[in-house]
Amino acid sequence: MTPELNVGTLLNELFIDTVRVSLPLFRPELCLVATIVLLLMCRMLPLLRHLDSGGIALGGVCFAAWYAYVDFLSIGSQMGDPLLSADAVRNELFGGLLVFDSFTAFLRLVLAGFLVLYAVLTKLSGIPDREDGADFYSLVLGSSLGMCLMVSANNLVMVFMAIEMASVPSYVLAGMLKGRPASSEAALKYAIYGAGTAGVMLYGISLISGVLGTLALPDLSFEISRVLAVGGTSGSTMVLCLGGLMLSVGLAFKLSAVPFHFWCPDVFEGAAAEVGAFLSVASKAAAIALLVRVAFAFSAPVGDTALGMSASAVAGSDVRHFVVYVIGLFAAITCTFGNLAAYGQTNMKRLLAYSTIAHAGYIMMAVAAAVAMVAISVDGARDAVSAVAFYLATYLFMNLGAFGIVALLRNRLKSEEIASYAGLIHGSPGIVVAMAVVLVSLVGLPPLAGFVAKFLVFSSLVDAITAGAESPLMLSLLVVGGFNTVISLFYYLRVLKVMTFDPVPEDRVSEPFPFVSISGAMITGLVLPVLVFGVFWSGLYAAAHLAGVIAS
């Protein structure tokens, strides 16, 4: 900081920060922005109106995915470079509002990869018709832009803005199916819940910033330790706790964690299956990433710089304890409730909604383990964050596959009720096998990717137990997780049972699903990674392990 305030220097610094540092690492997001602008422009110009919006969107997200991939490779090679320290590959962008590290790069790659597959899937399933196409894709891309900001947020204000940016377009997406009351109801519910939780979260953020005097995530844990160690004014601890809980309300809403999940089944049932896929994969990945960032910001260990070491260490471990218990309790309740509620569902999308809720619970268990180990075993914390990253990557294929199959079957059967799938194996064995792979992977049985993801989550919990980090909570989470795996089997298998054991209803008029077709190839492309990553997961885990470095 130069003492003299010179407008020229300021502008110059701003220019360097933006153009030299930030924008080159912001290329995927810029691609999304450019695509959105292009999509909207096309609607205005009569000549371009006949261009296919799906094609434009696909091209744009392919560019975004390519840049995300390049960024990930380059940060990977930088981290492999022994000359550079771990801090060297952490870049703060736009004056510290965003951060670019391997976690950002990995999650952004997951999101961009999802968008590519998603664009192809929506082209094939045809849910945005020619009229809606531009709207649909610009909303999806706009929301994805918000999610990219969520995974790289480095400031509480950015956290709020990113969540809102991701949410507002999804409210509209939920209501895309015009003329269907269920769809409008879903959109309304979603918007009201979203607005309510956003308000609460914003209030929480302002409480935190009021007490701590900072909004930057990297400074939070130090400031908290300072406030707690000094003792602060009366009630500051209380205010901090309240602020943290209010912030967690906003995150829990995005995560659809119980008890802030009520919107989720209604929205999934009311909205098109494609929208469900978007909300359950991309939105969930971004929300989990944000949870990891915020949780680490609150509980990162503080060095003994200015404060007395013991006091700050004690304060830090208290905060960590609090954060771990909040996340752990959310995880256990969410997981159990999601699985139990999925039992009674007759609608496939509603069942998948509860399955999404349950899986958020599993992933949050690993987050809790990561936070618990952050000061005790750095390697363990890194492994736990890697487990989260790995889970999100495999979850992409599992859930996009499941929703894709639901969407394609809806086009044939005109129904999304589980009962309407009866006896599908007789006419369309290919799609039933694909569904079986996806659902069994969601249960978590080997040799499928879902098993590996669950294995990694459980192993991070056991690692925390053996390392002595919050052992009682971790042990109960392990038991809850195992118990839930068993009970989840029942409702996933019920779908398979209907598809295979039950007789074909006599009034079925639709043609069988031809698996040798473009749609079949798309489904194969989604399901094959579930098999491949279940057996050969070294490579994906290595990539996830790079992302896990934020814990160390």
Partner: protein, 610 residues
């Protein structure tokens, strides 16, 4: 070592993965569904090739001199170990191997699978899907028996579940859906508990505790590059975890085993918890009372070939797991919980026999007889960990374990035979009600003769395979607990009662009392070709048990001897310590001392010395 350099790589890998490969080939759309005969014959050919290959490994003298990759009879150690890296960040390996415990079970699996494939001609609907699932199931079963990496073991263990679920659920009897989901839920519950135990053991294990010789013997390091690998292990800063079953066993048997020294919950050591969790996972598969209830349902609803596989192979997985994993890795817990293993064994032995007596459904009766017979296996395995007074006569324990192993193999033959014999009748008259049979002997004399031999083998008649295992187990349990030995001896009477009654009701008698009397045609050549080998083996193993014992005994004895020495060290160590601490110098051999205490005392005394 490159895969091609290891002579055991191809035989073992092909044995395990050939069925899955053929299944993948069959699932391609190029094979038309309607060509059922092609699908049936290619499945049968695959299982036959796998069987011949396993025979090539197991009985080299049939094929000329012993070559590389074949099994050396009489050698106790693990043979033909295949070791390739799989997931390096977790130290997970593609680690296969066979010894006298796993090889006979591998051959049993390939043999029963071949017969079951031949018996699958009675399957009429969805032939293609059935055979694909059948072959996948075979890969899963064989993989469990040959894998020596715990992760790999678990993967194969779970791979069996889904094919089995569909095989019961689609091709089963009237209550098939209920039976299939019940089977799946029970087994998955056990698997999840097992997974928790696996993770706990993994994260507590540390191969750096092992000596250089142990590292080589347990195949943690390759012999060719042992020096460098050991050096890099020794220089590691933090614990080096492992999934290698042999290394885990070596770590578990160390005097300062980290499994025994770690307390997890409720004051019990990790060793005890891991033992309990693994035991629950395995006994669900065995199954023993009170987690056996999936078995009668699954058996009754499953089609005949699948019942043969269920009884012949799947139940053995539990016993194998206890023998290969529970005891070697958690010896201390095994020692202190011997009463539990023996107890549930005897309870399910008696319970299964009484339940079998009460059945009117022929297949259900055979299913309960499996529960009863597998009780002998549990008793034989449990007796292993018993201390024979203060003498440590490991021969007594070895007798029990050898008997349990023999009982598993013999039961594989006899129960598969019994289910097949029931299936032959069911295919003709479409019912299994014991009270509606009678007079079969006069209508189907050849079949009835074979069936009676098989049922007598199940009864345990001397001269047939069922006798050897039961008598060895009963004899060895005498040294452990006389009441248990007496009960298990008396159970033979119950067994005789239900089997003789069944034979009397079904095969003897003046006339047939049920429906479809006209359908009782003599046995077909295909059925005869399945029944004859089973009957032949039932007699062969009864007359010449040495054919099996020459494989089983060296490996079992070695493992038992090692653990006997371990027990002696632990108990003597405990007694010495008590003597040393007791000022009056009165040795108190009866005082109860847990292994965790011993270990903690040892560590404390070492620190004091330092």
């Amino acid at each position: 070592m490159a895969p091609a350099e290891n002579p055991a790589f191809w035989p073992l890998t092909v044995i395990v993965f050939l069925p899955a490969l053929v299944a993948a080939g069959l699932s391609l759309p190029i094979i038309p569904k309607a060509r059922e005969e092609i699908i049936r014959w290619s499945t049968l050919a695959t299982t036959a090739v796998v069987f011949l290959l396993s025979l090539w490994v197991a009985v080299p003298q049939f094929f000329g001199a012993v070559g590389p990759g074949q099994f050396v009879v009489g050698q106790a150690e693990m043979q033909g170990v295949v070791k390739l890296p799989w997931i390096e960040s977790f130290g997970i390996e593609y680690l296969l191997g066979i010894d006298g415990i796993s090889l006979p079970l591998v051959v049993l699996t390939t043999f029963i699978s071949m017969l079951a494939a031949a018996a699958s001609w009675s399957i009429k609907k969805h032939v293609k899907a059935y055979h694909i699932l059948f072959l996948l199931l075979e890969t899963g079963m064989l993989g469990v028996f040959v894998s020596l990496d715990f992760f790999l073991f678990y993967v194969f263990w779970e791979v069996m579940l889904l094919p089995m679920y569909f095989l019961i659920g689609v091709w089963g009897g009237p209550r098939r859906e209920y039976a299939a989901i019940k089977f799946f839920l029970y087994t998955l519950l056990g698997s999840v508990l097992m997974l928790i135990a696996i993770l706990m053991l993994y994260f507590t294990s540390d191969v750096r505790l092992l000596s250089d010789e142990q590292l080589i013997a347990t195949h943690v390091v390759q012999p060719s590059t042992a020096t460098q690998e050991i050096a890099s292990l020794r220089s590691a800063e933090s614990a080096v975890h492992t999934f290698n079953l042999m290394a885990l066993a070596a770590v578990g048997q160390l005097p300062n085993s980290p499994f025994a020294a770690t307390t997890v919950w409720l004051g019990m050591s990790l060793e005890t918890w891991a033992f309990l969790l693994l035991l629950i996972g395995f006994v669900i598969k065995v199954p023993v009372f009170p987690v056996h209830t999936w078995l009668p349902d699954a058996h009754v609803e499953a089609p005949t070939p699948i019942s043969m596989i269920l009884a012949g192979v799947l139940l053995k997985l539990g016993g194998y797991g206890i023998l290969r994993i529970c005891y070697p890795i958690c010896p201390g817990a095994g020692l202190s919980l011997a009463w539990l293993v023996c107890g549930v064994g005897v309870v399910s032995m008696v319970y299964g026999a009484f339940a079998a007596l009460a059945q009117t459904d022929f297949k259900r009766m055979v299913a309960y007889s499996s529960v009863s017979h597998m009780g002998y296996v549990m008793l034989g395995l449990g007796v292993w960990s018993a201390v024979a007074g203060q003498e440590y006569r490991w021969e007594f324990w070895a007798q029990g374990v050898n008997g349990a192993m023999f009982q598993m193999l013999a039961h594989g033959i006899s129960s598969a035979g019994m289910f097949f014999m029931v299936g032959v009748l069911y295919d003709r008259v479409h019912h299994r009600n014991l009270n509606e049979f009678g007079g079969i002997f006069s209508k189907m004399p050849v079949y009835s003769g074979l069936a009676i031999v098989v049922f007598f083998a199940g009864l345990g008649l001397p001269g047939l395979c069922g006798f050897i295992g039961e008598v060895l187990v009963t004899l060895s349990s005498w040294n452990y607990s006389r009441p248990l030995a007496v009960i298990s001896a008396f159970t033979v009477i119950l067994t005789a009662a239900y089997i003789l009654w069944a034979i009397q009701k079904v095969y003897l008698g003046a006339e047939y009392r049920g429906p479809y009397e006209d359908a009782l045609k003599p046995i077909t050549p295909r059925e005869l070709s399945i029944a004859t080998p089973l009957v032949f083996l039932a007699i062969l193993f009864g007359v010449a048990p040495q054919t099996l014992f020459q494989y089983v005994t060296p490996s079992v004895n070695q493992q038992v001897e090692t653990l006997a020495e371990w027990t002696r060290d632990v108990n003597d160590g405990a007694r010495k310590m008590i003597v040393a601490e007791d000022d009056h110098g009165v040795p108190d051999g009866n005082s109860v001392i847990t292994r965790a205490e011993i270990v903690s005392r040892e560590i404390a005394s070492r620190w004091a010395q330092d």
